[in-house]
Amino acid sequence: MAVSSTDSDNGNKVSIIIKGRFDFNDHTDFRESYRQYPANAAYTLDMKDADYMDSSALGMLLLLREHAGGDNASIEVVGCKPEIKKILAIANFQKLFEIK
């Protein structure tokens, strides 16, 4: 599966792992990966095995942000490859997410 998630600290820390292409086909899996966790959890999006993301994936990140409390969301995006970093930078998502 391209999207999976694990949690620690009684579900207060959630790690979502993306592998391969991250695009619209992952829509359902991605949503399922965080739905069970509370809004105030600290989310980490592990992108080190993701090769590509498109604009619908950007939209999915926004949905996660919405789920995690919008402006109060705590979401880190880690391990991005340069191509993915570029896509995130074009949309200026560093203003909405913590990109490391």
């Binding site: 949905l63 919405e66 949309a91 200026n92």
Partner: protein, 563 residues
């Protein structure tokens, strides 16, 4: 079931009648193939039992003719034969039959075969009905699409994409496009442009683009600045876009009179700002969050401001261009695009060069995403050439109008479009609207920038200073705590036009009027431009001695329509 028995031997016919009627089937008879073909439409049976050897037309021939007549309808035909086994089956199928029954009849075999055929027939009819239903839906959908497309095209064609300074390309991945490209003349004597991309494509994306197009068109036409337009588009997209969808856009204004480019890029790929020889002056990178994501109070609407020179070029495109894939699954990419820019000659259209290079690259592979390109050539002479020719103007009386804007109003409103709207209510200026707009704008900018904000035009002497100036203006405006601008319009109508007197007074310290006028002759490109424009457009320009009051007189005449 309605069963049609085609049999020339009475005995066989009677036996079949008995067997079939025992199971309550409705039985009809024909005594040769010709009769069967003639009656088939009137009887319209569910199943046919067909003898093979018959006078006039035999069973095989009759079957062929009946199947032709039935077309899409499935009426199973069971041959009555004295043969048995493989041979019977093969000859039955070869001659268009669906099954066979051998003489003498075993009624249980016949019942079984009839009910098997009934099952196939039901299945066939269901499929046929569904197919027809789908066909109808598809036709309906296609019709709707055609109408929607027509409306969409009309809405989208509101911009002036046929302007001589523009070259554009628009290739939708579907019939409908999630990309928008627009250009609209602004009454300030410049043009506003928008190249945008809704996430996704097809109908949903196209639907979203409609209100954006309307906002951009109407607000530009009315003379609102692009910051206000950006805010309004953002407000609207947040309202109607589902969460997770957004609108990436590059929105810009080219001010022909002041040779100024104002640009906002949220989520579109690097646009190119090129000089006359297509050297890259600047990559206009996206430094904002796309529209439809954060509320207006968090939205960064600061503009990047550049000075433009005659024949500079701008090239803006959607990500569908750089992300186009060929059959080897390679991406077109930005470096190929830059290669084309480097090799393009200044007489050539960049859009057509990139287009042919892209075609070569992707060969016959269909576009996966919408591809949009816009090229703007800053040939100032050719920018929005005003359309002359105006019909009779309703006469109104002479009128006067004055307003006073305090610092708070100056900060929070954009007074010029409001003033122009009011002026137009008072008097139909028609084709003088643009000139009037410029005059009012220049006067207002002078009062605000030099009077209230005390900015020094000399800063604008260098390209860096140019941007700096507008940054200072923005900062000054935010910090503005006191001061006012008083504006007075007085209009007098005469036989073939009228005279408009405009005065503006600001609470500033004024300036050395004599020196400014003298400077103007020396260097009219970098500063004091506002004054030069006023002198060109107005019949009279004068200041009070202190320099905090300016008076202009604008005479206008009612032009006749020329054909």
């Amino acid at each position: 079931m309605k069963i049609f028995v085609v049999e020339d031997e009475d005995t066989n016919a009677l036996i079949l009648k008995k067997i079939l009627e025992d199971k309550s089937h409705e039985v009809h008879f024909a005594y040769n193939g010709a009769q069967a073909v003639a009656q088939i439409d009137t009887i319209n049976p569910d199943l046919i039992l067909m003898d093979i050897l018959m006078p006039v037309i035999d069973g095989y021939q009759a079957t062929k003719l009946i199947k032709e007549k039935m077309g899409e309808r499935f009426v199973p035909i069971i041959f009555i034969t004295s043969m048995d086994g493989d041979e019977a089956l093969i000859s039955c199928l070869e001659n268009g039959g669906d099954d066979y029954i051998s003489k003498p009849f075993n009624k249980h075999v016949l019942y079984a075969k009839i009910s098997a055929m009934e099952r196939i027939r039901t299945l066939h009819n269901t499929i046929r009905d569904q197919k027809q239903h789908l066909q109808e839906l598809n036709n309906y959908n296609r019709k709707e699409q055609i109408i929607a497309e027509k409306i969409f095209k009309k809405v989208m064609s509101k911009g002036e994409l046929d302007s001589p300074v523009i070259d554009s390309f628009h290739q939708p991945a579907d019939t409908f496009n999630g990309d928008i490209v627009m250009s609209v003349n602004s009454p300030y004597g410049g043009m506003n442009f928008l190249v945008g991309d809704f996430t996704g494509h097809g109908l949903a994306a196209a639907l979203c683009s409609m209100p954006v197009v309307q906002i951009f068109y109407v607000m530009s036409y009315k003379g609102y600045g692009i910051q206000d337009i950006i805010k309004e588009i953002n407000r609207k997209t947040i309202q109607f876009l589902p969460k997770g969808r957004f609108f990436a856009a590059c929105i810009l204004n080219i001010d022909v009179k002041n040779h100024k480019l104002k640009l906002w890029n949220g989520g579109m790929p690097d646009a190119y700002f090129l000089n006359e020889d297509l050297g890259i002056r600047e990559k206009l990178i996206s430094n904002k969050v796309p529209l439809g994501i954060v509320d207006n109070d968090q939205l960064d609407t600061t503009l990047n401001i550049y000075e433009i020179h005659q024949n500079d070029r701008l090239f803006i495109y959607s990500d569908g261009l750089v992300e186009a894939h060929n059959e080897k699954d390679e991406m077109y990419g930005q470096s190929r695009l830059e290669d084309v820019i480097h090799s393009c000659h200044k007489s050539e259209s960049l859009v057509s060069e990139v287009k042919s290079n892209l075609d070569q690259f992707i060969q016959n592979k269909p576009f996966q995403d919408d591809v949009t390109m816009l090229e703007i050539r800053c040939d100032f002479e050719k920018f929005n050439t005003q359309k002359d020719g105006v019909v009779a103007i309703p006469r109104t009386g002479d009128w006067e109008l004055s307003l006073r804007l305090d610092s708070n109003k100056i900060q929070t409103t954009e007074p010029i479009p409001i003033m122009i709207a009011v002026l137009n209510e008072m008097q139909e200026f028609r084709n003088h609207r643009e000139t009037l707009f410029t005059i009012v704008t220049e006067m207002y900018s002078n009062s605000l920038e030099h009077g209230l904000l005390k900015l020094d035009s000399n800063i604008k002497k260098t390209a860096e200073g140019f941007a700096k100036y507008y940054q200072l203006r923005e900062e000054g405006l935010q910090k503005l705590e006191k001061g006012f601008i008083k504006i007075r319009f007085r209009h007098g109508l005469h036989a073939n036009g009228g005279t408009l007197y405009i005065s503006m007074e600001d609470s500033g310290d004024g300036f050395d009027v004599e020196r400014a006028v003298k400077d103007m002759g020396v260097n009219k490109y970098h500063h004091g431009r506002g004054l030069a424009i006023l002198q060109t457009l107005c019949n009279e320009v004068s200041h009070n001695a202190k320099g905090n009051e300016v008076h202009t007189v604008f005479e206008w005449t009612n032009l006749q329509t020329e054909h």
